[in-house]
């Protein structure tokens, strides 16, 4: 490796270190492309008291579809959904439910009507409120953009992968909604 290249690399590192953390992460995106962008990954979160650490995608889908209603510890599962139109919700509808909004609404109404589930998913207006709901409800499960996760909730691995891991399935393939209530 030539001296000039080494100098350039060194200077690049110095400049990157001088940048604020967020800009540094953004600038480093091209260096570590294999790492999912935490702004664009969807973390599945449960209450901290829930012993579950990992779910297969199939199990996750059964939970959200209402085909599984209880956790192993006996608590009834309470599903938390973000409000209509938010990118995180659209991602879950598309990737987990594999439905559009109308299909989802009819599906939930149908399983309620048939008696397959007792309580419809709880719709919450913002990630903050969803986080609070999951914090308070031992049986709760919901989803948050990874950047919105804090220590009050527990992130569940999906197929053994955390949101920051390469190959994680739940990617938000659209930007954060403008004017999104927070």
């Amino acid at each position: 490796m030539g001296t000039r290249v080494r100098v350039i690399n060194l200077l690049t590192m110095v400049v990157l270190l001088a940048l604020p953390q967020e800009q540094r992460a953004q600038a480093g995106g091209s260096v570590a492309e294999s790492r999912p962008n935490p702004n664009q990954t969807l973390a599945i979160v449960v209450n901290r008291s829930n012993p579950i650490d990992n779910l297969s995608f199939s199990e996750l889908r059964k939970i959200f579809m209402g085909e599984r209603n209880h956790w192993a510890n006996g608590h009834r599962i309470a599903i938390a959904m973000l409000n209509y139109g938010q990118p995180e919700r659209r991602t879950v509808l598309r990737q987990v439910y594999k439905m559009d909004e109308k299909g989802y609404e009819d599906y939930v109404l149908g399983v309620m009507f048939r008696g397959d589930v007792f309580v419809a998913p709880k719709t919450l207006t913002s990630p903050t409120i969803l986080r609070k709901f999951v914090f308070n409800a031992p049986g709760a499960i919901g989803y948050l953009r990874s950047r919105d996760v804090d220590e009050t909730v527990k992130v569940v691995r999906i197929d053994g992968l955390r949101p920051a891991d390469k190959g994680y399935r739940l990617q938000i393939d659209e930007p954060s909604g403008a004017g999104e209530p927070e």
């Binding site: 309470a78 109308k102 914090f135």
Partner: protein, 465 residues
Amino acid sequence: MSPVYLLLMKTRSMPGNARCGLFLSCVLLVLPVSLQSQQPQSTPSVDVGTIQELLNRIADLEASQKQLRARVDQLEEAQSGVAATNVAPQSLSVSAASAPVKSEPPKGESTSAAQSDQSGTMPESEHMDLNRTALNIRGFGDFGFYGGTQKGQTTSFSIGQTNLFITSNLSERIRFLTEMVFEVHEDNAFSVDLERVLLEGSLNDHLKLSAGRYHTAIGYYNTAYHHSTWFQTATERPYIFEYEDEGGILPIHMVGVQATGQIPSGRLGLHYIFEVGNGRTSDPFAEPVQNYVDENGHKAMNVAAFIRPDTVPGLQAGFSVYRDVRVVPNSPRIDETVADAYAVLIRPRFEWLNEALMIRHAPEGQHIYETPAFYSQISERFGMYRPYLRYQYINASSHEPVFPHVGLRTGPSIGMRFDVTESAALKLQYDYTTLRRQGPIDGKTCVQLSMCAPSAVAAQVDFKF
């Protein structure tokens, strides 16, 4: 992309030394700005009084925190003897105590706000919050225009069933459910029926117990589609699953108890259903569903099982066997068996229902009658439009002891469902039916036009509210 990389790309054509020099200049320009932004700002001058006031507030906060900690410890002690299953998902205090997390709740969120956000799920205690409604109500209705080619039959506007679907969660594991249906029959008068009244208890995924009046789990259609045309694709139920008070020949409703649940089976998704109830009356002039008194001591039983394999999303296949004894005065008792097998594929855009039945009536010491029946229905959604095709068949003997009027009924129905809005749909359907025995069933007006006339048309508006 990093500005540095952008700069690198732009300066690729420059000589190496020049490029290096340019970078050094950039770094020298950028570094001071960045480093300056990280410098601690100069400490503002404050007076001693302000500092003292802040110290006092810190002391107050520390005292308050100690009180809260003591309260949490107290609650944890009280909670330690209580089974985890008694902890409902809504109580902030109990949840905070039971959770291993030691962090504070999210900032800026009060307990009352947290609790109000959980109104959709069960309260921890059995105390009813009188400020909230205890009932969840959804409504469904339909209105239509129908006509057929049978002689003497008139075209009519008809009000269908107006259905109030009401649920109330009594606790985390117990729910009340009812379907209150307002409907009009051939006398043009309204009547009200509680088509389903159920108290359900869900112990876990493997056992849910229900008691009351429910739809008998014969096959698929009867429990997948209840008293609402909104959920079903076609304007009417298949003839074989028509309601008892509208000429149907199966015990659609049963009063009794029911156990359902999943059987651990991995990716197969095996489920079971077991039902015991009153069965239906043998008296053709009485209310078909024995809601209050059974005419005999024998109880009807129904056993069903189905799979929902993970490998084929939307597929459900299963069977059911229903057994009852019909005791008609001055007639031999009739053993009744209804065996059903089905395979359905339900996906958001595509549906394919296939179901076959064999209804067996065995009068004591006499000839046994077996009536085969099936229907198949296929549809696919294209945006707001969902065209569909159904073919149905039933062939009963003229001497069938329970429903001698049915005979042969077979033919296709073709239609289109158009979802005008998220809450309203228009359906247009044409039926062509081959009949061996025509005429009203049991002297009643045909509710299903395809049951009365070889050709029938229907335009129906379904809505939910």
